[in-house]
């Protein structure tokens, strides 16, 4: 279930592209970024970091829309997204699992 708002002006924007950076040694494996990424960009590693936690890794290269949600929800300052090159939106990339619900 993702927590994410559809931009009202969806037709006019280009979908931005994001580059994900993961400071793996800071991660404590909470899974928030993986769970709440609207684009399912991430997945958890099977490896442990030095602290003994699994950490996220990029699953779908290029799918990131630089929404920064992972960055904002991460309690460890261990993941962030920088702007990549933009490209036009593809409908299915915007609405996944049908939610525009915001709680």
């Amino acid at each position: 279930m993702s927590y994410w708002r559809v931009p009202l002006d969806i037709q006019n924007v280009k979908i931005p592209k994001g580059d994900i950076h993961i400071i793996t040694e800071r991660c404590k494996g909470c899974n928030f970024c993986v769970e709440y990424c609207p684009r399912d960009v991430l997945e958890m590693s099977t490896d442990f970091n030095r602290k003994g936690y699994h950490y996220p890794q990029v699953l779908k290269q290029g799918a990131c829309v630089n929404c920064n949600l992972c960055e904002m929800i991460c309690p460890e300052f261990s993941i962030y997204c920088l702007e990549g090159e933009e490209k036009p939106p593809e409908p299915d990339q915007v609405l996944r699992k049908g939610e525009n619900h915001e709680s």
């Binding site: 279930m1 040694e25 909470c30 904002m72 991460c74 300052f77 709680s103």
Partner: protein
């Protein structure tokens, strides 16, 4: 006792991260103190991120913002923010912050602390600072228990919830903090959860810009203690629970926003009104009474 031995055969090195990664908020945090103390999937770190984002958004000069915490897991927030930051005593963040705010009227002072710190031992300062409308921004991280000391019940623990001092479930009524804040005189009262990161960021930005006593209660997962003891799963499970049970109701009557155990959580901005702050009221008043004789406080300069 003998000396440590230093005879090694081999040294394996754990691979260090290849890139030189620098988080965009790095300049706002004291990352030299990382890893921070918060548990895996605790919500406090997320709230600190939201605080920084809100601060950025508010447009305030970080040099003119100070943060005071009391004691608690939440109370460690001050220690990781690269702002003028103070880690005071348990419950006394608000009066400490009052001294700071009155002593330097140019500062915007936030208090980031826990529900126990602000509403249990610090309850008196909470209601009096609100009454006086001191120019303080309060971020109260409510994880429904005293986490730092091991998960005791507190004044926000819902009826029936299990905690280390309510092993058979809690039978004390909890506070409705927004109602209490309003009845004490707060000019801005809101509640969000750690999941509402964008809303929360906006609220923090708004509250930072609001003169007077603003209060934001933030419901936050404590997987290690509160959730574990109540078998509510991980921090992620708690986040999911917030997703399912939080309802936004701006302007809700604060009398009606009590939180029951694992029931719905009403979030939103409940109060937003204008009233002269303590300092404004004082200055207006003394100016009127004393005229030219009134010498407003000026912070000593460094030569003094």
């Amino acid at each position: 006792m003998s000396e440590p031995t230093t005879d090694y055969t081999d040294t394996l090195t754990i691979p260090e991260p290849k890139e030189n990664l620098k988080h965009p908020l790095e300049s706002y945090i004291r990352s030299e103190r990382f890893p921070h103390i918060w548990c895996s999937s605790c919500g406090i770190g997320t709230i600190v991120t939201a605080y920084i984002s809100g601060l950025q958004k508010s447009g305030l000069d970080p040099e003119k913002v100070a943060v005071v915490s009391g004691i608690g897991c939440s109370g460690r927030a001050a220690g990781y923010l690269r702002l003028d930051s103070f880690h005071s005593t348990h419950g006394r963040a608000l009066p400490f912050a009052t001294g700071l705010a009155l002593g330097n009227p140019e500062l915007k002072v936030s208090v980031i602390s826990g529900d126990g710190d602000i509403a249990a031992i610090g309850g008196n300062h909470f209601i009096h600072s609100a009454r006086r409308n001191i120019d303080l921004n309060i971020i109260c991280i409510n994880n429904f228990n005293y986490a730092m000391t091991g998960g005791q019940a507190g004044p926000t623990t819902p009826l029936e919830a299990n905690a280390s001092t309510t092993p058979y479930g809690c039978y004390e009524y909890p506070f409705n903090l927004p109602f209490l804040a309003e009845s004490s005189g707060a000019v801005y009262v809101a509640r969000w959860t750690a999941l509402h990161i964008r809303r929360l960021t906006n609220a923090i930005s708004e509250a930072l810009q609001k003169p007077g006593f603003s209060f934001i209660e933030i419901i936050s997962p404590c997987p290690t203690l509160y959730a574990r003891r109540n078998r509510l799963g991980t921090g992620l499970d708690t986040m999911k629970f917030y997703h399912d049970s939080a309802t936004i109701q701006h302007g809700a009557d604060t009398r009606e926003v009590d939180i029951e155990y694992q029931k719905k959580i009403i979030v939103g901005k409940f109060v937003d009104k204008d009233k002269p702050t303590f300092t404004e009221a004082r200055d207006t008043f003394l100016n009127k009474k004393l005229g030219d004789q009134y010498v407003p406080y000026r912070r000593p300069n460094n030569g003094h």
